[in-house]
Amino acid sequence: MSFYEKVKDFNGFNFNNFFNSITEEKIEHILVKDRVNEEDFLSLLSPKAEKYLEEMAQIAHDISINNFGRAILLYTPMYLSNYCVNKCLYCGYNVENGIRRKKLALGEVEVEAKAIYEMGYRHILILTGESRKHSPISYIKDCVKILKKYFSSIAIEIYPLEEDEYRELICSGVDSLTLYQEVYDEDTYKSVHVAGAKSNYKYRLDAPERAAKAKIHSLSIGALLGLEDWRKEAFFTGLHGKYIEKNYPDIELTLSTPRIRPHAGSFEYVREVTDKNIVQAMLAYKIFIHRAGINITTRERAEFRDNLLPLGVTKMSASVSTEVGGHSNNEKGDKQFEIDDSRNLEDIKFAIKAKGYHHIFKDWEPI
């Protein structure tokens, strides 16, 4: 069994007909339920449910407070390399983009690590462009070895791996995996991932499950909203999360709602995803999977991020530089995309406090 089978079950399913069949009574009925099923979840993503965002927000808020309290984990990403072999039409790292490429030497990793550690961070997310050649597992492992000295939790956001490779990295100290499917719609996936290893839809789709089998502690998944109809994409993201929760109940799950951002390159075909849409997706996730955390990155505007806090956010990135070497101001490589919330850490801590929440730097450590 793979989540792929589940996705295929919806081949030919007419989402528009379904959405058109939703009534206000149906939404109201769902909102008084303790646990919602797949069909309810899709209903909460429908245009009809937009009228009920406030009610959904109240429910999501309560679920989140009970499950996660008022703590917001702050982490920061470290870009190790921006070499990439793929041609993803929406990404600044596209192999055909004439950007300045860079890969951190191990000495530079240590300098970056120190700079980040001194700011207070204990959870780090390391990222690479997707190139096995430039950032092989051995290189990632060497980096992890250095980072272990500074950070209690290390997450990776790199090209999808084999189960054994995940196991190898987990043994060396990695405890979390972030891997966005980008697009769950297989046809659209193929049309935007033109060439390179990433063009293999199913291999990417099954990667979180391979990591789960290798006993990763936490998984973060999501669709890059804006590449397809967001309602469908959010639906499949939720189903993917549910699939993992059901089959790997010991996994700590986080769902993300990344929205496509401007970047170097030329991709013009982006479907609009409004703030309201992002909120609806987030709330539906929370009501569908109570125990899933929600991560909001600096792709979003500062004010919008602050307003999202009480809706169920559990994790936020801060002090973000999407440039390789961006934390210690070395000679940097070009960035993957533009960020929007560029406030410094102190300002973000203050904003969290102002919303009645509490930042934390550490909530996990492999022991």
Partner: protein, 254 residues
């Protein structure tokens, strides 16, 4: 009121509290004070010893007994490692064992918990296992050396109250070590109910941490626990299906 004794330590307060989910570290000392708690549990995995300001241990009154917990452990082995690390980090020798491999409902794994209890009790820890209220498992935990058992009233964070009431009553009747009801207590009246039933103590986290005013709520819980305890000692009258007339009709036969 008679005192609660756990692992040879006498406690005046029968309210244990948790440290997660608060809106700031600074509020914690005030809640400790208002709730008059003497036992504070903390997830070792969240403790950041490398940062003074962030280190939760710095916000816990030195007179309190620290009850590090093994939150995040999925197996007995992991729980044992966390417990040893807690001791090495200077958190004392009390340990609350939490082994949870189900992240959806956060229900404890009794079997692994029993294993960890046995290993740690032998190593001299005062072991308080968090458990699903099952009589046989509670007995096994006591046999393995548990200093108390901590049955859940309802899933963690659910605020649903004492849903496992009948099972907990059985533990109270049959188990010789203190019974501390942990998880599910959503409001002071739930705590009172647990204490009236004869529980020896309760552990409260979510209901305090997420209250609008956690300090005042701490006071409310302190009073609720005390009221429940007094009611238990003074013997709560039995429940009846019908009312019982205070002037019986057959009184003249005496």
């Amino acid at each position: 009121m008679n005192k609660l004794v756990i692992g040879g330590t006498e406690l005046d307060s029968r309210l244990f509290i948790g440290t997660g989910k608060y809106s700031s570290n600074n509020i914690l000392p005030k809640v400790i004070k208002s709730s008059k708690t003497q036992v504070v549990t903390v997830a070792l995995r969240r403790v950041d010893l490398s940062n003074e300001e962030e280190n939760i241990l710095n916000y816990i009154d030195k007179d309190c007994i620290l009850l590090p917990n093994t939150s995040g452990a999925r197996t007995a082995e992991e729980a044992v490692r966390i417990a040893r690390l807690a001791k090495a980090a200077g958190c004392g020798n009390w340990i609350k064992i939490e082994v949870i491999s189900d992240n959806k409902y956060l229900l404890p794994d009794n079997k692994e918990t029993i294993k960890a209890t046995e290993i740690l009790a032998k190593e001299g820890f005062i072991v308080l296992p968090y458990m699903n209220p099952d009589l046989m498992d509670a007995k096994r935990m006591v046999e393995a050396g548990a200093a108390a058992v901590m049955p859940l009233g309802a899933p963690i964070g659910s605020n649903r109250g004492i849903r496992t009431k009948e099972m907990i009553k059985i533990l109270i009747d049959e188990i010789d070590v203190p019974i501390i009801v942990d998880a599910g207590i959503g409001k002071p009246s739930d705590a009172t109910l647990a204490m009236e039933m004869g529980a020896d103590a309760v552990l409260v986290n979510t209901a305090l941490a997420t209250a609008g005013d956690p300090i005042l709520m701490g006071e409310a819980f302190a009073q609720a626990v005390e009221a429940g305890r007094k009611a238990f000692i003074s013997k709560v009258g039995p429940e009846r299906a019908k009312g019982e007339a205070s002037s019986p009709l057959t009184g003249f036969l005496r």
